[in-house]
Symmetry: C2
Subunit: 338 residues, 2 copies
């Protein structure tokens, strides 16, 4: 049976395995350091659709189809899908998944969505009400800029702390009945909302770092593990500003992450050549790095044990314009090679 | 252990009990047939806040506080909170819950959110990774009108098929360790996305009825139960138009719901006196009716066994303006008196 370790961490008794996964990116992601590792690149930013929002759905649909196909899994065999995204009312997920026959549970965790979907999927399989489920999320530079900041044609200048929303989608199929070798979801720490009063919507790293620090501290407090037991601690999209703040916040708590921390937002683009300012961001950032970089390394044995900590800034343009600060959350998932 | 019944329905082996619940409404809800049954009424539509969005958060916060207080439950004893709402990026939930100390998992199911939170909570408790969790959702007439349709001051005319978004919040505390008598969550059917091509954002009943019909049919197909075994089948907010369509769709499948169907959207307002056109709607509609009307009757023994089927229209103003149809989903929860 699943159990609680300390106050915020849960562990799974079943072998909940990542039996398939896929990552889909756009042209800019193809030009980055992980370009060769994506399953599919859409060089057309519209992905053959009429709007950016529909393009984002197409990316997500493709990520699902590829994961099913790579794992030789029929859509009918999935018991549930956990999905979400950054667009208002999570429309890229709804429109992506309406063509599939499985039950759908929309998740909202902003850029923490992939970690949230993984932990909800793992909890659901642990309960034995299902045996196979899908986790998928996406983001798109054009749809996110228009919704959260300015229409692209306005040509707004980006600040140095701004991050570049990844155009991409990542999908994972979890199974509790697979008997082969595959990465395993072993534990998770569910985040609390943290709001230290940051109001700058162009500095998401600063808003989210305290949530990441709290969840990471919760995990190590609960499990009494040492940071060195992990090959890497991945954060979702703190970028340069947020990563630095994360180190400082955790050092105050006696935890040093500098040796084995990797931020997906700093990994996905080449900061010297790609002009993304403080790094990549978006639900698709952590999700594509998970599916193009982390999971393949867990599968091949390069990594033995990692933490995947995705952070989300839970603001809307309305709450921002009303002068509210940015509440954030971070969810953590422990992934182990089998 | 939890198990699957047929393709879409799950049942719980643990006694997952509704140990406390609370409903909060506004002035119009107080004037409706359930007015006396709410735990608290805010006669000030701003609830002492500066914006409607903040008012919605205040409603939700109050619903949580009252449920904790009625059940004599400490916030620290809740393992997880499942919450969501209609506002972009679910901000009424994030800002409502940031002052509480429990882990947060944002859910997006539009007006189906309360049923989704209940089933996610039940699955989570079934997995034994937690023993107590909170489910909460809200909606607000003013924040919803501005976001989905027109600013109120514009004075737009409402069509006859339009529904009135409930200003209200409902919260439920589920527990697997409570030994007293309380209503029990016994089974759930997770919905699939259904999209029959309805594009009229002023006719949500028509968009959502096919999803409700599918999920209700899935439940009866999976369980082989008879409709007569239930004191009532509640839908969330189909209103007059959607309820009629639901009967017609289910009759084609050989199921008659006319004798024991109740729509929360038709129960919450007096259609003759309150000028709400096709009925009430919003996440707060099903949630407040659940917490002010259904759960008290399960507790007192008036009802023995009911189905609570909340429907959600998964559109955004953007997808609507881009000419897309309205994907919908319905989630079903079976509730029994102990």
């Amino acid at each position: 049976m699943g159990k609680r370790i300390g106050r915020y961490t849960v562990s799974f008794s079943q072998k909940i395995k990542v039996v398939s996964f896929a990552s889909v990116g756009g042209k800019k992601e193809a030009e980055g350091p992980l370009g060769q590792e994506f399953d599919k690149i859409f060089y057309d930013p519209m992905a053959g659709q009429k709007t950016w929002e529909q393009a984002e759905s197409a990316f997500q649909r493709e990520a699902v189809s590829i994961a099913l196909s790579k794992g030789n899994i029929r859509a009918e065999d999935l018991d549930f899908a956990f999905a979400g995204d950054l667009l208002n009312q999570c429309i890229s997920s709804s429109f992506a998944l309406e063509s599939f026959p499985f039950p759908y549970l929309g998740q909202y965790g902003a850029c923490s969505t992939m970690a949230q979907c993984l932990l909800m999927g793992a909890i659901t399989l642990e309960s034995t009400v299902g045996r196979n489920c899908l986790c998928v999320t996406s983001s798109n530079f054009c749809s996110a800029e228009r919704q959260y900041r300015f229409p692209l044609l306005y040509g707004g200048q980006r600040t140095p702390t701004a991050q570049w929303t990844v155009s991409g989608a990542g999908s994972v199929v979890l199974s509790s009945e697979f008997t082969g070798k595959a990465p395993v979801v072993t534990a998770a720490t569910v985040g609390r909302i943290v709001d230290l009063g940051v109001t700058d919507a162009n500095n998401m790293g600063a808003a989210m770092a305290p949530a990441a620090a709290q969840t990471i501290k919760d995990f190590f407090d609960d499990t009494k593990e040492s940071v060195d037991s992990f090959d890497a601690v991945f954060t979702g999209d703190l970028g340069q500003v947020g990563s630095q703040l994360l180190y400082e916040l955790l050092e105050k708590e006696g935890l040093s992450l500098r040796n084995n921390h990797i931020d997906c937002g700093l990994l996905i683009y080449d900061s010297k050549k790609q002009d993304v300012h403080a790094g990549g961001s978006g639900c698709g950032c952590a999700a594509t790095v998970l599916c193009s970089h982390i999971l393949p390394r867990l599968k091949s044995g390069v990594y033995n044990r990692v933490l995947f900590v995705a952070t989300g800034a839970l603001l809307s343009p309305t709450s921002g314009m009303q002068g509210n600060s940015i509440p954030s959350v971070a969810h953590l998932v422990e992934l182990c090679a089998e």
